[in-house]
């Protein structure tokens, strides 16, 4: 990973054994994130995850492995879940990028809270919460694609690329199915928690 204060216009690229680092000019990127334009300079080889986290301070997307193994960095590009750690930021230009920070702005959100986030909260589906943003982005894509109440099996398949080490997945599946039911109003209000 490369992150830190931008040296003005320059960044040191990874060098091959023994040679002095070579300086590389940053690229000016024009991205569209959560419906808004974002123009930012970053090294041309940076991934979308690096640009989101270390240039734009969109820290919701997480780095768990940096190799596409864990899914914690999942964002949506043109509506499809994508691993931001395996996507070059430059390749995401002129596409529609959506991160967890944008979930609360969706039309189905209530007071900045997406029904999925509300269901995760009610079910205690986030323990440490580190994998949760990525899971939410995969789950939201599933709910949109199915357009109705989802089955537990559909959730398992759609989220198979997202690792969670805390929950054993049970409450995440409960929450996603619940959210799909809330969105499609196919059952009575579930048991209310007493936390508030």
């Amino acid at each position: 990973m490369h992150h830190g204060l931008p040296a003005p216009g320059l960044c040191l690229a990874k060098r091959e054994g023994g040679r002095e680092p070579t300086r590389m000019v940053e690229a000016l990127l024009s991205l569209r994130i959560n419906g808004e334009p974002a123009h930012v300079a970053a090294p041309a080889h940076w991934t979308l995850l690096e640009v989101l986290r270390y240039r734009l301070d969109l820290i919701g997307s997480k780095q768990g492995c940096d190799k596409g193994d864990c899914g914690a960095c999942t964002v949506q590009i043109d509506g499809e879940p994508v691993l931001a750690c395996l996507t070059l930021a430059a390749a995401a230009q002129s596409r529609d990028i959506r991160t967890v920070e944008g979930l609360g702005w969706a039309p189905e959100a209530v007071e900045g809270c997406h029904p999925l986030q509300d269901a995760f909260d009610r079910w205690d589906a986030a323990q440490c919460g580190f994998c949760t943003p990525g899971i939410l982005m995969s789950a939201e894509a599933l709910l949109r694609k199915v357009g109705g109440v989802v089955t537990r099996e559909q959730v398992r398949e759609a989220l198979a690329g997202n690792l969670c080490r805390c929950t054993g997945y049970t409450k995440i599946i409960d929450a996603v199915v619940d959210a799909s039911e809330q969105l499609h109003a196919e059952r009575e209000q579930p048991e209310q928690s007493t936390g508030t």
């Binding site: 990973m1 490369h2 992150h3 830190g4 204060l5 040296a7 960044c11 040191l12 990874k14 002095e20 680092p21 986290r53 270390y54 301070d57 820290i59 919701g60 997480k62 768990g64 492995c65 940096d66 190799k67 193994d69 864990c70 991160t99 967890v100 920070e101 900045g112 809270c113 986030q117 995760f120 909260d121 009610r122 205690d124 986030a126 323990q127 440490c128 919460g129 580190f130 949760t132 943003p133 939410l136 959730v155 398992r156 398949e157 989220l159 690329g161 997202n162 690792l163 080490r165 805390c166 929950t167 054993g168 997945y169 049970t170 409450k171 599946i173 928690s193 007493t194 936390g195 508030t196």
Partner: protein, 793 residues
């Protein structure tokens, strides 16, 4: 508990709560350690050893220091004070001094303008090594002539414990059946999704602040002071919200010392974020153990004696290993009554990443062995395995053979719950060849009665303040690592003061702002910090009720605090908003703030050397039934269901307890079938797969249906009777699956993990013996596909 005259009203207790801090995590605004960004921040990388065992002859950092963008380089000599999480075994240094002991040992650290430059500078550091022979097996290391850890007292022995209670030889001699078995636990790691990360900054007045993804801020604080040679008063440790830990962040790591010293040297903030590969090499996960068990049984299934001999592979450093060595024997003496028990446990240093505590520290491995032993005895004696466990139940309010006092015990109810939920009796009799059910039980501690470093101060302390708007602030040193301990504290304060969880702000794990707490380990927080919090909250409750009673001219016992109001119990129409009640109490008493303390009982352990290690104020109990499907042609084991019943004393927050039970069962399942943490001796001791792809943690598709069944046997030692729930429910996962595999296909897997090649080999070996008429045909007539063909052939 609450005043005697007052009826118990469960306003918040036992409900399902929205956690106090989950929504910000889900909206992506929580700042974990790597999300901290400070002006002028530098980035640190650590150069690591490519050798499993070597002398360091020379380190030349001059080329690295001369590089543009490099601000400082440090080596072992700069941080040479040895430390260790256990004060009796300070056997590691932040960076290697004079020699390296495993592939991945830190040798030097760089602070540079960005990670690329820091990585390039690490490559420019020249280290001359003289390789030494490496040991990868504990018994070979004990016999070897080269000493791995220079601080070790004797050869490569890390710790040896020999304890005997009662007459074991007599117990085994009198047994009708003695089951003997050799078991092997290969070793697994934590796999928290957040990698370790630390940031350090020296404030203008000289205070060194270290933010770290740690689960033990207080111990980190102490070790930083020791190694850096400065007063703890000049150091502040903050644990930002944590992305999982499971024991993997429960001691200091090299990165914390490195960023601290580099921040002091450069006068700039410094961050270090481990790569996933570094997380695997830093490890401190579950110890490999080779275990030999002999267990004697009478014909009725009762145990007459247990003898265990265990070799523990410690890796390069002690970590918590002294405790692990005791725990490998000490934590086994419930839920079954052992009339006589002996264990020999020997931990050796090896040239591998150091092992330490992982969820269920020290006892998951021997629990696997003993629960399979019980299953073998049940088969041999023709007794139902659940019934055999019932007959050996130690019961509540007893004393174990190693002299630990047990309080409440809901083990029998745990067994009954999993038996009923899995439809055990009927289905076990009917399931065809290839499918089976297995049971296992366990116990675990709710914290330990003695802290890691001897002192007589409280084990936990909490400060609670009330304000005029009807809210509460809780200050606690406890580390919320995702398990929900901040919410647990809020539930207790809300229960006592009639508040909603939204009215409470919990500030935790900041050594400048919060009282000392020992941290998130050994499942201590709910019982210990919960008791301290209850103590403080009840003091405040008394003040608020007295102030209300005075104004209403009624006795205090008639006043209750509930639903954000103070209410007259005999005339519920009379009530005031809680804020007003707080204002009355503040008028009478001054600012409303109280501290609460908890210290452990000191009369519940054994009177012998080591008799305090593993003694706890209260013990949880668990039973699992696992259902498996084994493909006899491929050896692939699919776990379909795990029913997990856990006696947590009292569930303070129901869904959080269920989440701990499900997460525990999941983690044990992964260890049983998939996860392998090991190094490859054929490739110079490198890790066999230090990535989340190669280290196979179960995905959504792999994980069975998990059914959490809460059992409540309230314990007099716990807040409202509560005991632990975070670690105990893991233990039976592995043996329940092993026993279910036997029930499915009639083979014993005594070495973990149960990978398809091992399972297939065992199935084929049994078939050969069946064909030779040495063994009966397993589950004959119950869907055995090729039985008639082979018999007629």
């Amino acid at each position: 508990m609450t005043d005697q005259a007052e009826p118990e009203v469960e306003w918040q207790l036992g409900k399902s709560h929205r956690k106090v801090d989950a929504m910000e995590r889900m909206r992506g605004v929580t700042r974990y350690t790597d999300d901290i960004k400070l002006p002028g921040m530098l980035h640190c990388k650590i150069l690591r050893s490519p050798h499993p065992h070597a002398k360091i002859l020379r380190i030349d950092t001059s080329r690295a220091e001369a590089m543009d963008g490099v601000h400082a380089v440090i080596t072992g000599e700069d941080l040479s004070t040895p430390y260790g999480i256990i004060p009796w075994t300070p056997d590691e240094t932040a960076l290697a001094v004079a020699k390296v002991c495993f592939v991945g040992d830190g040798v030097a650290a760089v602070a540079a303008v960005d990670e690329d430059t820091a990585n390039a500078a690490c490559e420019a550091i020249e280290v001359l090594y003289e390789p030494l022979p490496a040991y990868y097996d504990p018994e070979a290391a004990l016999a070897g002539e080269h000493k791995i850890n220079p601080y070790a007292k004797r050869g490569n022995l890390s710790k040896k414990v020999v304890l005997e209670f009662g007459d074991v030889d007599k117990g085994l001699a009198e047994a009708d059946v003695v089951v003997a078995g050799d078991y092997y636990f290969e070793g697994t790691t934590h796999g928290a999704i957040e990698p370790h990360c630390a940031v350090a900054m020296v404030e203008p007045k000289g205070t060194l602040t270290v933010w770290s993804a740690t689960q033990v801020s207080h111990y980190l604080h102490r070790e930083l002071a020791k190694v850096l040679g400065r007063s703890a008063a000049t150091i502040r440790v903050i644990q930002p919200p944590l992305g999982g830990a499971f024991g993997g962040k429960s001691e200091p790591f090299d990165l914390e010392f490195c960023v601290a010293l580099l921040a002091i040297r450069t006068k700039r903030p410094v961050k270090c974020l481990y790569t996933r590969e570094e997380v695997f090499y830093s490890h401190r996960g579950r110890h490999p153990m080779r275990m030999r068990y002999e267990t004697g049984f009478r014909r009725d299934g009762t145990i007459t004696g247990v003898s265990a001999k265990t070799f523990i592979d410690g890796g390069a450093y002690s970590s918590f290993g002294l405790v692990t060595t005791y725990y490998s024997g000490q934590l086994l003496c419930a839920p079954y009554e052992f009339p006589a028990y002996r264990f020999h446990s020997t931990r050796a240093y090896t040239n591998k990443p150091a092992c330490g505590p992982k969820r269920g520290h020290g006892s998951v491995q021997p629990r696997f062995a003993i629960e399979v032993q019980l299953d073998k005895a049940a088969v041999e004696l023709g007794i139902d395995p659940i019934e055999l466990r019932r007959r050996n139940d130690i019961g509540p309010e007893g004393v174990t053979v190693n002299e630990f006092k047990i309080g409440s015990n809901g083990f029998l109810e745990c067994l009954a719950r999993v038996e009923a939920a899995s439809d055990w009796t009927r289905r076990r009799a009917e399931l065809p060849y290839g499918r089976g059910l297995g049971v296992a039980g366990s116990t675990y501690i709710s914290g330990t009665n003695y802290p890691i470093y001897p002192n007589e101060m409280p084990q936990a302390a909490v400060q609670v303040c009330l304000d005029r708007s009807g809210r509460a602030r809780v200050f606690s040193g406890a580390n919320d690592i995702g398990q929900g301990s901040n919410t647990m504290l809020a539930v207790i304060v809300a229960q006592e003061l009639g508040l909603a969880l939204d009215d409470i702000r919990v500030l935790s794990a900041d050594t400048d702002l919060c009282p000392v707490d020992l941290g998130a380990y050994s499942s201590r927080i709910t019982l210990m910090v919960g008791n301290a919090c209850l103590d403080a909250a009840q003091k405040l409750r008394r003040k608020v009720r007295a102030a209300v009673a005075k104004r209403w001219e009624i006795p205090s016992r008639r006043v209750t605090l509930i639903e954000r109001r103070a209410m007259d119990l005999e005339d519920p129409s009379r009530s005031v908003p809680i804020a007003e009640a707080f204002n009355w109490a503040e008028a009478d008493n001054g600012l409303l703030g109280e501290v609460g303390n908890y210290n452990t009982p000191k009369d519940r352990h054994g009177d012998y050397r080591g008799g305090t290690i593993g003694a706890s104020p209260a013990y949880s109990f668990t039973a699992h039934v696992a259902e498996v499907e084994v493909d006899p042609d491929t050896g692939v084991v699919e776990v379909k269901h795990i029913w997990v019943a856990h006696d947590c004393g009292k569930a303070l927050s129901r869904r959080i307890v269920e989440g701990q039970m499900e997460g525990s069962a999941y983690m044990g399942f992964g260890e049983a079938l998939m996860e392998r943490h090991d190094v490859d001796p054929g490739h110079n001791g490198v890790h066999i797969g230090p990535s989340l792809l190669d280290y196979r943690m179960p995905t959504f598709l792999d994980t069975p249906e998990l059914h959490a069944l809460i059992v409540e046997a309230p314990d007099a030692q716990g807040p409202y009777g509560a005991k632990e729930a975070g670690e105990g429910p893991l233990h039976p996962s592995i043996p329940a699956i092993a026993n279910a595999i036997y029930d499915a296909v009639g083979v014993r897997l005594d070495a973990l993990p149960f990978t398809p090649p091992k399972v297939l080999a065992a199935i084929e070996a049994r078939r050969l013996r069946e064909d030779a008429d040495e063994l009966p045909i397993f589950k004959a007539g119950r869907g055995r596909p090729d039985q008639s063909d082979r018999r007629s052939a």
